[in-house]
């Protein structure tokens, strides 16, 4: 055994290709068995590839390359021995032309202390280390502006705020207004400090490419229609306020709104089974189970992990599942299986402040519920104008299979359940 091929493994049923997201090791590095070599990105998830044997690595594809399943992307020379130290000293001849610097392979890391960051990534500064630990961030997902690709504290601050532009110290200050200048002749205004008008292009990530494909596919295939309603959140909010501490103490997870909506959706899906089904050729597929996709946002975009058997789960179990998947999505650890097979989807645009939107179906599903921002609005109740915490709801559905009447009733059912959560308990 001298040279072992590193191949792209099968990462999921429908996945045929992947993109090399990041190499953690370089050609010439001595890698130990189980060292993480690289991160692959597929349209669904990212996968870390580890070394099957120890030896010296030869990298064949670079970051950003798209490769197929089974392709050889690197080789490991297992005959090569672990480097003992620095190579023999260079000859002491005086004039040294631009010879390529001798590559000193870094000594393999000690197995007893696993590195906090992926090997090969630049070390983190003390402040960045503190923030990453305190806020549980993935440093690899934050764009770095420091020397040699290092993260600065400012990068982390910006990433947490979601801002893009760093407040560089050399920001040109606008010239102060001239004092009592004469009325100037009107001319075509030109900026005092002309900015760049260049364009630049970046390759789309695999995830983004697949999202784009699927969105267009959904729009082209289904007859998508959206119905709206609004829900008075007063009762749910009071319920939550009253029991959130007890809930947290007992279950170790916060009591959110999502669980109520998932439970209400299950009840509505049971009442209107077509909404939980889909079209396959000339047949309609009904599902006797209720696997609901819950959209969560991650650094790589919106992902929709599927919470299985929601009809059999209690409220706390649903909340726990959502937290579990959110963490995995944020860490880029979510698997393809966890993202596929849902029968219905709940999406919450409200966390970003959306007041109203028309969600697009997640094919082959036939419907998707859109939650929105809770906003205090004046509403008429019993002839009186009162202020209530209101949320608009949107249900987009495939009109080929779901009729307008059913869709509207489905949404009204959800509204009724959320407005009066006692119904969830009684099942009425």
């Amino acid at each position: 055994m001298a040279v072992v091929d590193v191949k792209v493994p099968a990462v999921g049923e429908s996945v045929q290709e992947a993109m090399i997201h990041k190499w953690y090791k370089a050609t010439g590095d001595y890698v130990k068995q189980d060292d993480v070599l690289l991160e692959l990105e597929t349209d669904k998830a990212t996968v870390e590839i580890t070394a099957e044997q120890s030896g010296v690595l030869e990298v064949l594809n670079k970051e950003g390359d798209t490769i197929g399943i089974g392709d050889v992307i690197a080789r490991i020379d297992t005959a090569a021995t672990k480097p003992a130290g620095a190579p023999a000293s260079a000859p002491a001849a005086a004039p040294q032309p631009q010879a390529a610097p001798a590559k000193t392979p870094p000594p393999p890391t000690a197995p007893s202390t696993p590195p906090a960051v992926p090997a090969g990534a630049a070390p983190l500064s003390p402040a960045v280390r503190r923030m990453v630990a305190e806020y549980e961030l993935n440093p690899a997902a934050i764009p770095a502006t420091g020397k040699g690709g290092r993260l600065t504290k400012g990068d982390v601050v910006q990433a947490m705020e979601g801002g893009a532009t760093a407040s560089a110290p050399q920001v040109p200050t606008p010239p102060s207004a001239p004092a009592q200048a004469k009325a100037p002749a009107v001319s075509l205004p030109t900026p005092a400090t002309p900015g760049t008008r260049a364009e630049h292009r970046e390759p789309m990530s695999m995830l983004r490419r697949r999202v784009a494909e699927r969105l267009v596919h959904a729009q082209n295939t289904a007859a998508i229609l959206t119905t709206f309603n609004e829900v008075d959140m007063t009762n749910v909010m009071e319920l939550r306020k009253k029991y959130k501490d007890d809930f947290k103490t007992k279950y170790g997870v916060g009591l959110g709104f999502m669980g109520f909506f998932v439970k209400a959706a299950v009840a509505a899906l049971k009442a209107y089974p077509l909404v939980n089904g889909w079209i396959d050729g000339n047949e309609v597929v009904f599902h006797d189970y209720y696997d609901i996709g819950v959209a969560v946002s991650s650094d790589r975009g919106l992902v929709v992990p599927v919470v299985r058997d929601t009809d059999k789960l209690t409220l706390d179990e649903i909340e726990k599942a959502i937290v579990y998947y959110s963490t995995r999505a944020r860490d880029g650890k979510i698997t393809v299986d966890e993202l596929t097979g849902g029968t219905f989807t709940v999406s919450n645009g409200g966390v970003f402040g959306s007041l109203l939107s028309t969600p697009i179906l997640n094919p082959p599903q036939s419907a998707i519920l859109g939650m929105h921002k809770i906003q205090e609005r004046p509403v008429a109740l019993g002839g009186q104008v009162v202020i209530r915490p209101m949320m608009y709801l949107a249900l987009s559905y495939d009109h080929r299979i779901v009729d307008g009447k059913e869709a509207v009733q489905f949404l009204v059912k959800i509204k009724d359940m959320v407005e009066d959560p006692t119904r969830l308990l009684l099942g009425v």
Binding site: A94, P95, Q96, P97, Q98, S125, P126, A127, V128, R130, T145, G146, K147, R150, T152, K153, G154, V157, Q158, A166, S167, P169, Q170, V171, T173
Partner: protein, 468 residues
């Protein structure tokens, strides 16, 4: 005509020029350096940074022995000054270092073209040796690194006897009774300090309302207070109008901002109002190269002049006149010529004033931040609270760190205090790596050291000092 061709010819062997030539040779280029003086090293090694630091150190020891050692229980019965020995030691240091450059040239195979260099055309230099022989040399790349000269002002023309530039003030054979210093900048304050410590009365005349104009206001105020304690006198907002030199004496006739006339009598006058780019006799006309207003050689971001194949670095171009700035530009230009990506980060260039306490600064001042409209947080901690400073007996001064209010990135740092010149390096490195004040605050600093005050100032940015 012994003509030789090179890949790179550097005009001037100051810290910018000699470093540029050596770096070019290291990269496999055939490099030559033109120098008309008898020794290499330019102003810095011969009549600038190095000899002034030698005298500053010697005079500091003298002042220490005279005023401070007693407090430590070290008594000296009769203290005497051997100025001749002090000057000799300075000259020895200079000749060791300039000789060092000669051996560096030999080691790296850089050719020293002795004589005055002059452009004949782009790519061609004529070198006139001291004995009048001329040689012509060609190189695809020629780097102008001819440095700067002290500015001469009409009311006080140098006579090299009574009215001198910095060069003259490095070799007074006797301690002046009263040295009048025109200009409260780096050079005036450093050389003024030397002679003040050795016993001269020193009066600094400065046209602006503060010394070290352009530096952080708290810094210049703090330094002036410390120097006044040493006995230096200051005449701010005062302009020199006229000088009268009689045998062994000089009278400065000045005008204050409110129009009053002041007369100051002394026996020596140091004019240190600044330096200007030195480009005379270079034959820039032959290239069709027009100087910028202020006499500097115009260059782009990559130190290219408008004439192809002609580069310029150091004091002859824009930016602060600092040896280390010139050195780094020299390295960058050599690398660019060799096809490598040369770069200098102008935002993280430290500068130092070797008075006592010393002044060292890097990055933006508080005033500059204000002008740019940046919102900042500032941490300022005095050395008074530092154990090491106490044991040294040097508690004057402070460390001030300015960080961006949002990103916490260090935008500037200013130190007045003992060994500020050495302390500033940490902050320069921090700025080069875009470190935040918290990065410094979370780095372990040895105890007891002066650097603890830097850490404490970094903590002060976040209002969480532990020792102050």
């Amino acid at each position: 005509m012994a003509d030789t061709d090179f890949d790179v010819i550097v005009l001037g062997s100051g810290p910018g020029g000699y470093i540029c030539a050596i770096r070019a040779a290291q990269l496999g280029l055939r490099a030559a350096c033109v120098e008309l003086e008898q020794t290499l090293g330019g102003t810095c090694l011969n009549v600038g940074c190095i000899p002034s630091k030698a005298l500053l150190q010697s005079s500091e020891y003298f002042a220490l022995a005279e005023h401070d050692l007693g407090k430590h229980g070290v008594k000296i019965a009769k203290l005497t000054l051997d100025l001749a020995q002090m000057l000799k030691r300075k000259d020895e240091i200079v000749s060791q270092l300039t000789g060092g450059v000669v051996s560096l040239f030999k080691k790296n195979k850089v050719t020293w073209l002795k004589g005055r260099g002059r452009f004949v055309a782009a790519g061609t230099i004529k070198v006139t040796a001291a004995d009048g022989t001329e040689t012509t040399h060609k190189a695809k790349n020629i780097v102008i690194a001819t440095g700067s000269k002290p500015i001469e002002i009409p009311p006080a023309k140098y006579d090299r006897e009574t009215i001198v530039s910095s060069t003259g003030a490095l070799k007074f054979s006797e301690v002046p009774k009263h040295l009048i210093v025109i200009g409260g900048g780096v050079i005036g304050l450093e050389l003024g300090s030397v002679w003040r410590r050795l016993g001269a009365e020193v009066t600094v005349i400065e046209a602006m309302d503060r010394i070290l104009a352009g530096s952080d206001a708290e810094l210049s105020k703090g330094l002036m207070r410390a120097l006044e304690k040493e006995g230096m006198k200051f005449q701010l907002k005062t302009k020199l109008m006229e000088t009268k030199v009689t045998k062994g004496a000089v009278k400065a006739i000045c005008q204050t901002a409110d129009g009053q006339t002041v007369e100051i009598k002394g026996d020596k006058m140091l004019v240190a109002v600044g330096r200007r780019a030195y480009t005379e006799g270079l034959g820039l006309d032959a290239l069709g190269l027009t100087l910028e207003a202020g006499g500097k050689v115009p260059v782009d971001d990559h130190w290219r002049t408008p004439v192809a194949g002609v580069w310029a670095i150091g004091d002859v171009i824009r930016g602060p006149m600092l040896a280390h700035k010139a050195e780094d530009e020299g390295v960058a230009v050599a690398e660019l010529i060799a096809g490598l990506p040369g770069h200098v980060n102008y935002e993280a260039i430290p500068s130092v004033v070797y008075t006592w306490p010393e002044v060292a600064t890097v990055g933006l001042t508080e005033e500059q931040c204000k002008e740019k409209g940046l919102s900042v947080r500032i941490g300022k901690v005095p050395f008074v609270a530092n154990g090491r400073a106490k044991s040294l007996g040097n508690t004057d001064g402070f460390v001030k760190i300015i960080a961006d209010a949002k990103t916490d990135q260090v935008l500037g740092a200013h130190i007045l205090g003992p060994w500020a010149s050495e302390l500033i390096a940490e902050l320069g490195l921090a700025m080069e790596y875009k470190a935040s004040s918290e990065d410094i605050a979370r780095t372990t600093h040895a105890h007891p050291t002066l650097t603890e005050t830097i850490k404490e100032a970094a903590l002060a940015v976040d209002k969480r000092t532990l020792n102050f």
